[in-house]
């Protein structure tokens, strides 16, 4: 974390992330909101790179930008009329107050607590170590995650299949 290049990258990526997250709130067209959301995900992926988490950064780009954003786009174009507006409900001011409270509380805790620093440089390699941890120490959660993905895939196919629409 010494070089000025990393500092410049952090500030640019932080402004990009927060700015496009605000754009998701402000923009009225849902398609534009998805584009801003993709920009947010890309900013977070860049922040992972500055944290020397290369594997997670690539995963973020593949899963969030590649898969989840496309899912959002499909959901928007499959819900034609109501998919175009991005209005707030009547709860906007209580929600705004609550979110400001939560954010400022989190920032206060982050600044107040005394974190024991590792002080070392970035990780020499992440992908191979993550792979070994997944198949060794975290093998059971890994299998549970595969079962969860199977259930999610089958569930979403059943939900949107034409047969289930005809039953109603």
């Amino acid at each position: 974390m010494d070089s000025t290049g990393v500092e410049i990258a952090f500030w640019v990526l932080a402004v990009m992330t927060i700015g496009s997250a605000l754009a998701v709130v402000v923009v009225r067209n849902m398609i534009h909101a998805v584009v801003a959301l993709i920009s947010t995900f890309a900013g977070v992926a860049g922040l992972y790179v500055t944290l020397s988490a290369d594997f997670i950064a690539i995963t973020q780009i593949l899963i969030y930008i590649g898969a989840i954003s496309i899912l959002f786009l499909f959901a928007i174009v499959l819900t034609p009329q109501s998919g175009r507006t991005n209005q707030e409900s009547f709860m906007r001011f209580p929600a705004l107050a609550l979110c400001a409270l939560v954010s400022s509380l989190l920032i206060y805790v982050a600044l107040d607590a005394d974190w024991t620093s590792r002080g070392a440089a970035g990780f020499p390699e992440t992908a191979s170590v993550i792979g070994q941890l997944l198949l060794d120490k975290y093998a059971l959660p890994f299998e549970i995650a595969s079962a969860l993905l199977l259930v999610a895939v089958v569930g979403s196919i059943v939900l949107v299949s034409p047969e289930s629409a005809e039953e109603d």
Binding site: I18, L37, T50, L51, F72, A75, I107, V129, L134
Partner: protein
């Protein structure tokens, strides 16, 4: 001024707040889901930042946890967007103020 853990935590906190606002205040169900994904991202960023900066016996456990979080959020997005399409088919709206069939 070097970049420390607190910088990442502050970015994560602001991102979490914006996501929470989207999830609470948006009328469009898909907008609510966007907020939830944004909160997932904020938490993942915080995990990775702690994994990078804080002393621990198992330094890459945070990365492994983020892999699982991304898996769960992908499954959640698939099911929830299928639900959104399904609700739109049956009720012709995904305005969360009007989906009040179970309201007592």
């Amino acid at each position: 001024m070097a970049i420390h853990l607190e910088h990442y935590l502050i970015v994560g906190a602001i991102l979490f707040g914006i996501g929470l606002y989207l999830a609470l205040a948006k009328r469009n169900f898909i907008g609510v889901l966007m907020g939830i994904e944004m909160m997932f991202n904020a938490c993942n960023l915080t995990f990775i930042a702690f994994s990078r900066f804080v002393q621990s016996n198992d330094p890459l456990a945070g990365h492994v946890f983020v892999v699982f979080t991304i898996t769960v959020s992908a499954a959640e997005a698939a099911v929830a967007l299928a639900l959104a399409v399904m609700v739109y088919r049956t009720r012709d709206t995904i305005d969360v103020d009007q989906i009040d069939l179970l309201k007592w």
